[in-house]
């Protein structure tokens, strides 16, 4: 059997927006991103992955990668899979991510590892179809991708796509929010916020006085970003069979307000007018009549009274690789154990 190919989408322009100025959001140097990719590659190599493809970009990531791979090869150490850059034009914005995800879907890669925050993941999911993704948190707001050492993500992805971990354990189905605007589809992985500002501007949303309405797929009290509001008011897990809708009003007039971490470094009171449960596949017309729609924390679309907007919660909309489950399975089955007698010993220990 031919070796599975894994795609890598490392977005060099994530973690660059206005939130660095308004609330000390983190940055991630290009060199660090490149090193994260290398660690992912190292993890995948250890599980037998031989081929990878990566999204091209013009922000210096590729240069770092190639230099590191050449040096490693010259030095005779490091065993990295082959890394091929997709042949596609580079615009330097999110359309690169979308195009790369589409190409990877077309070439039927076994999985896509995504380096970015919620925004990058959203774009990949919107374009990758049924290809499973594994997220590496490297964006501004990272509610969707978990914090994990990329080496381990690489290992987990490798174990999953090489079949060492059964698909039933390795892959998880996820909820999604679909937003139809005059028949045109946009998606969100975590939250859709309706705000009164009717311009996209610098995309991030942080002016609570403009918040109007929020839909979430999940919201954890320990989360960050808009979904944390739901997390603090009425938590929903990634696996719960429903979502939430929250309608805001001014903290002065609302029956109660909650101090939520609406962005990294930004905690503000948000007045709550109403909380509802969202069921799957039931289109809902938002109360908001005009403004803009933020998907996973970033304004993307503006709309007015004449525009038709519908929000629907979807089940099983895309697949992710459950790294924790993969690693647990690997430990249980000794996937990463090299000598048989040791395996026996380990079983004895486990047996207690």
């Amino acid at each position: 059997m031919s070796s599975p190919v894994v795609g890598i989408v490392a977005n060099p322009i994530s973690a660059r927006d206005i939130r660095r100025v308004i609330s000390y959001a983190g940055g991630l140097q290009i060199t660090d991103r490149a090193n994260m990719v290398l660690r992912i590659l190292a993890g995948m190599a250890a599980t037998g992955i031989k081929k990878t493809v990566i999204m091209p970009e013009n922000a210096g990531l590729r240069g770092h990668l190639m230099r590191a791979l050449t040096r490693s090869k010259n030095a005779g150490d490091g065993h990295f899979p082959e890394i091929r850059t997709l042949d596609m034009p580079v615009t330097g914005d999110a359309t690169d991510t979308a195009r790369a995800a589409r190409i990877m879907r077309e070439m039927e890669v076994a999985a896509i590892v995504v380096l970015g925050g919620d925004g990058t993941h959203r774009v990949v999911v919107a374009n990758c179809g049924d290809i499973p993704i594994a997220g590496v948190s490297s964006g501004t707001n990272n509610a969707f991708p978990e914090s994990r050492e990329p080496t381990v993500t690489g290992l987990g992805v490798g174990l999953a796509v090489t079949g060492q971990v059964p698909p039933g354990i390795a892959f998880t189905a996820n909820k999604r929010l679909d937003v139809m605007v005059n028949g045109s589809l946009e998606i969100a992985l975590i939250d859709v916020a309706f705000v009164r500002e009717r311009f996209v501007g610098s995309r991030a949303i942080w002016k609570t006085e403009c918040f109007h309405e929020l839909f979430v797929t999940f919201g954890s009290p320990g989360g960050i970003g808009m979904s944390s509001i739901a997390g603090l008011v009425a938590p929903v897990s990634r696996s719960d069979r429903f979502g939430r809708r929250i309608v805001f009003e001014s903290p002065e007039t609302a029956s109660f307000a909650v101090r939520a971490s609406i962005a990294p470094g930004l905690i503000a009171p948000v007045g709550i007018a109403d909380v509802q449960t969202l069921q799957f596949d039931q289109p809902i017309t938002p109360e908001t009549r005009a403004g803009s729609i933020a998907f996973d924390g970033e304004r993307e679309v503006t709309f007015g009274k004449a525009d038709e907007v519908l929000v629907t919660l979807r089940d099983g909309a895309f697949r992710t690789i459950d790294i924790e489950a993969c690693m647990a399975h690997a430990a249980d089955k000794g996937c990463l154990v090299e000598q048989a007698e040791h395996q026996t010993k380990l079983k004895q220990v486990k047996g207690g």
Binding site: D17, Q29, I30, N182, V200, S202, T302, F303, G304
Partner: protein, 338 residues
């Protein structure tokens, strides 16, 4: 992307934009003035009317305009060799600029500076600059003066993607951080340092990374999106005025013309210029958005277009008619007193 929509009132807080209609019109007028100014120079230069060489800002208007709308005359900007757009957006007289470019006494610098050295301190324009990267320390100085004199002025340093490699620029990031200066470094990344690609010439070409390296927050925005620039710059400028210190804004943008006029642009990809002109024209995108939102009608933008064309016509006419500097002018203005 914007949903198509019919008329929406732009009154009061219902405005779909962060600016009132008058300000939107003014932004449009500024951008259009820059475009018309530059396009006219492009033509007149090719005809041989203009001495020396000029570097045109066409295609980059949203950046200068989005930033400068937050500034007053007390705020100072240090510009680049590609400075016409900055000058116009900062309020320098178009007539004086044109006079300068034609080398006439009517010029902003009485014909002694030329395109690359247009300045008007009364408008807070510290000068275009023929030395790439040299403006950054100057903007730090303006910010230092604002801080020491106790007014709320800020300094803005414009630099291209190429000149951001200059020591002067990088040293300025550090100095601004150490002295907590109210200065904003704007990297106008149009992808080309003269003919050299940013991909090649900048080892780690995230300017945000560079800012981070000096302890400054950095932000990247789509420099062709007026609203993105305007909002990000607004936050950074407000922060600097309030004592929040320096920051860096990278505007990713595009250059319609060559590095200088007469540049055959053989380093560009085939069809690149046509593509950006058709699909990434910041003025067109702005006009589409405000008209789709029903805030400013095509009739209104057309009227501005006509007004701007007349303005540039008259600037060119006046510049051509203006007298050349006198022989005696060669020796004056070297010193205040000598």
């Amino acid at each position: 992307m914007s949903a198509t929509a019919t008329a929406v009132s732009a009154q009061g807080s219902d405005s779909p934009f962060p600016l009132e209609k008058d300000d939107l019109l003014s932004a449009y007028r500024t951008m259009k003035t820059i475009r018309e100014f530059e396009d006219r120079l492009h033509v007149d230069f090719a005809r041989g009317d203009i001495p020396g060489f000029v570097h045109l800002y066409a295609g980059e208007e949203a950046a200068a305009t989005g930033i400068m709308m937050h500034l007053t005359d007390e705020d100072r900007i240090a510009s680049t060799h590609r400075g016409h757009g900055h000058c116009i957006a900062k309020g320098v007289s178009v007539h004086e600029m044109m006079g300068e470019i034609y080398g006439k006494v009517s010029g902003a610098c009485r014909g002694k500076g030329g395109s690359m050295h247009i300045a008007d301190l009364s408008k807070g324009m510290m000068g275009a600059n023929g030395i790439l990267g040299a403006g950054a320390p100057l903007a730090c100085g303006a910010a230092l003066a604002a801080k020491k004199l106790g007014h709320k002025g800020v300094g803005i340093s414009f630099v291209g993607d190429g000149a951001s490699n200059q020591g002067m620029f990088l040293e300025s990031l550090n100095l601004a951080g150490v002295w907590e200066l109210p200065v904003i470094f704007v990297v106008e990344n149009n992808g080309y340092a003269e003919s050299t690609s940013v991909d090649w010439a900048v080892a780690s070409d995230s300017y945000v990374d560079r800012a981070n390296g000096f302890g400054l927050p950095g932000v990247t925005v789509d420099g062709t999106d007026f609203f993105a620039v305007h909002e990000a710059a607004g936050e950074m400028i407000r922060r600097a005025r309030d004592g929040g210190g320096p920051s860096l804004l990278e505007c990713k943008m595009i250059r319609f013309h060559g590095h200088f006029e007469g540049d055959a642009q053989t380093y560009r990809a085939e069809g690149e210029v046509e593509d950006i002109r058709n699909n990434r024209d910041c003025i067109k995108m702005f006009a589409d958005r405000v008209s789709e939102a029903g805030v400013i009608s095509r009739v209104e933008t057309d009227a501005v277009d006509a007004e701007v064309a007349t303005l540039i016509d008259s600037a060119v006419e006046q510049a051509k008619a203006a007298p050349l500097p006198d022989t005696a002018d060669l020796l004056t203005d070297v010193y205040v007193k000598y």
